[in-house]
Amino acid sequence: MGRNVSLEMGELTDTAYYILLSLVDAKHGYLIMQTIEEMTEQRFSIGPASMYTTIKKLLAAELIQLFDDHDPKRKTYIATEKGIDLLKNEVKRRREMVSHAEEVFKKRGEQLI
């Protein structure tokens, strides 16, 4: 109940989206945080509790997997094939959403910056 609802629907929360995106290459937790902050120019950051919860959720949904757990403090993860597929679908879905909005604004003669 509750736990995997958004993942089962094939939609990713923003947090899950960025974590999955940064795990296209294997990384450990702290590097995931850093990568996301750099990628988004500090506009999107993930708190440690949200991070831990979301990683556990992505693992349970088999969208990511353990890559190496030699050091229990710095486990590394990598996106699975299933995860990459879902990510690609998600990108497509979001791109469509953006283009719908662009069309609407274009018709009104307004420019989106």
């Binding site: 929360t13 937790g29 708190g47 440690p48 403090k73």
Partner: protein, 179 residues
């Protein structure tokens, strides 16, 4: 001069934010949280600190869990039963929860657990109450009715302990979802 002080807790399930603010206020006066003590906190006199406190529920928290907090600037202060954890960080550090779905999950987990603990006592309270009602029939000795009434009361008193936090989490979730 006194070095250690014990202060009562107002109940973390009910006043989580208020409690964390209270602890931050004490820290500003130099009373730093050391650990949970009974139904309250043990504070130790040190120099004044401008810090915030955050609470998380996480059963069987592992090394990685604490490493994430550390990396984000939150140092672990104390825990109860490796389940309730308090962290502190300089004021202005980014929060430990940054999105709604995971915040909701935090309270969902706790609610579920309290619900599990409350359920048997809820059932027994109802059953004893019903037995008490039925035993008011004439052919049942009065002492049996009193006996069931007593058991019902005991069940109800025990039920309050997980039951009230359960309702509190339920209310918190309702507020979160409404936002």
């Amino acid at each position: 001069m006194k070095k250690v002080k014990y202060i009562p807790s107002g109940g973390l399930a009910f006043f989580e934010e208020k409690e964390m603010k209270k602890l931050a206020k004490y820290a500003k006066e130099g009373w730093i949280l050391e650990k949970f003590a009974g139904l309250g906190y043990k504070l130790r006199k040190e120099e004044s600190k401008d810090i915030e406190y955050s609470l998380d529920y996480q059963k069987e928290a592992d090394d990685e869990y604490f490493a994430f907090f550390e990396a984000a600037g939150w140092s672990h202060v104390c825990s109860v039963g490796n389940e309730i954890h308090i962290f502190s960080a300089p004021t202005g550090t980014k929060p430990i929860y940054t999105d709604k779905p995971t915040t909701v999950e935090k309270y969902e987990r706790e609610k579920k657990q309290m619900g599990k603990a409350a359920l048997p006592f809820f059932i027994s309270t109802v059953v004893f109450w019903l037995l008490n009602v039925f035993s008011s029939w004439e052919w049942v000795p009065e002492s049996i009715g009193i006996f069931f009434q007593l058991l019902g009361m005991i069940s109800l008193i025990i039920l309050i302990f997980p039951g009230l936090p359960y309702l509190s989490y339920q209310f918190k979730l309702w507020k979160l979802r409404k936002e």
